[in-house]
Symmetry: C2
């Protein structure tokens, strides 16, 4: 009988590999694959696109545990056709992204980014700096999943007012009002901060285009910690130049790394971060908590207990 392989696209600490062996003694754990291994991969932790064709050609691949929350890079249709289970890393990055978003809201509102720019020119701004209290300001969180709810909870503690948007407009914990994605244009003029944390789907690709930016309040701040392809970057640049909004903090981009000659780099009303909002030092531990829980249920019942992705929806 051939090996049954659990493949991981990156190394993990020994303590976790030992746990995998204890839970799944009948399996071999590999982080490097030889050509003859590919047909024997049953579980893939992470997804290596170099192996995509061979893994999908095999009938043994049963379950893919994605490293990230977003699964838009994965061959979802093929998974669906072949009944391959998929779970994601949703929840791992919630705290980090929440703190990142709060850091941007406060850094902008207290003039800290402006102060740092002035510092590089050895310029004392005095009270000419732009500042505003965040108390009572309205934030619109587009995407009311795990991360959205955590942001809602924290901004409420800072006395902000939190609205949410999701596909259907269903209520979400901690959000004063929720709207459907179709109502986006309607609610935009009312809010001071707009945070995109939507996964990338057909519906959200290119969602933030000139027609959407037209509805921003001219003092509003746009924060994208979702997916780069949800924003039409050229439209955003135009909207910023036309002062249709005041500031954009972007962590994700249509092309990453952002090309050296990209005009965004030089814009004073843009803060660029290099896809770091989700970085967390306990990453392995948090991912393994999901993976090992699912590994147990997969072995027992061929079902995933947590973080399963509905393949038809894409998140």
């Amino acid at each position: 009988m051939s090996e049954r392989i659990i493949y991981a696209d990156r190394p993990f600490r020994d303590e976790f590999i030992e746990e995998i062996h204890t839970i799944a003694p009948g399996y071999v754990f590999k982080t490097e694959l030889q050509p003859e291994d590919l047909p024997n991969v049953e579980i893939s932790l992470g997804w290596n696109s170099n192996y995509q064709e061979k893994l999908l050609a095999s009938s043994n691949l049963k379950w893919v545990q994605s490293i990230s929350a977003g699964v838009d890079q994965l061959p979802l249709e093929a998974f669906s056709k072949k009944h391959i289970l998929l779970s994601n890393g949703s929840g791992i990055h919630s705290e980090s992204i929440t703190e990142h978003v709060l850091g941007i809201i406060l850094g902008y509102s207290r003039g800290l980014f402006q102060a740092q720019r002035a510092q590089s020119e050895m310029k004392w701004l005095g009270s000419s700096i732009h500042y505003q209290p965040i108390q009572g300001k309205k934030i619109l969180i587009i995407g009311t999943g795990h991360i959205g709810k955590m942001i809602a909870k924290k901004v409420k503690a800072l006395d902000m007012i939190c609205y949410g948007i999701n596909t259907s407009g269903h209520p979400a914990e901690g959000m004063e009002k929720t709207f459907s994605l179709k109502q986006l244009q309607e609610v935009l003029p009312e809010v001071d901060f707009v945070v995109n944390i939507l996964p990338l789907t057909e519906e959200t690709t290119g969602l933030f285009d000139q027609h959407i930016f037209e509805h921003f309040d001219s003092k509003a701040v746009f924060i994208n910690v979702g997916r780069g392809a949800s924003v039409k970057t050229q439209d955003l640049i135009q909207a910023l130049n036309k002062q249709q909004l005041s500031f954009a903090a972007l962590d994700v981009f249509e092309e990453e790394p952002l090309p050296q000659d990209h005009p965004l780099w030089k814009m004073d009303n843009v803060l660029i971060t290099s896809h770091i909002a989700g970085l967390t030092p306990d990453f392995q531990k948090k991912l393994m908590s999901i993976f090992l829980t699912n590994l147990k249920s997969y072995l027992a019942t061929h079902n995933l207990q947590t973080n399963q992705v509905k393949l038809f929806a894409g998140y």
Copy 2:
């Protein structure tokens, strides 16, 4: 009978001047003084040092309402000798300073300041950025008055652990532990963020010197939103260069504006803000809420109802 004057060292909005007239119909409100007015000033809102000598020479000056929380610039000893009442602006700036401090903690911890520096060089840092979760990090707030307590409340909502320091070490709302100023060196090695919001007194002048910085954790961040003269700037620069601490965010300086040729401007591990932490758009309203409350009680009983400064202590 000569006029009784309420003098303000800056203009206020009409709505507030009307309220002053309603509460104190026997008084004249002036924002400009002629030499013959000086002996008739009974109440001074703000303190104009050009008039100091003449105002103190008069026996009519009874009450000074300071604009700021700090009163170290005022002739406290003379006030004390002449039984002049003093109230300060404590509380007006609490929300702003709290949001400023949170912005620094989060901006530093999520690598936002580092990212902005990289942006100016069009550099994509990727995950090489320095970041840390703030959950579970310890913050030491030196000064447990109104501002300190508000910071404590908000950092707790962000799941940080908050310690406080005050003169005697008495407990303070929202702070897990409190220590006396004498225990500062003892508690410093334990904490990740050190926030100075102490008023300037004899005891706090030059408090943060090389002997204190030696006790910082090398990963710690120092935030000064108190008084510039509480920090020996040269000692701080040396400590940062020796990596005795990791980062300093300074809003106040021994000399303000910070001189153009000052070495602090060019330090990557320093964020300079231009005495802006306390700026608030509702300043007049907040100050008037204190002043008008006290004006009523002063007229009725010659006592101040709120924000009275104990002249012997200096805050």
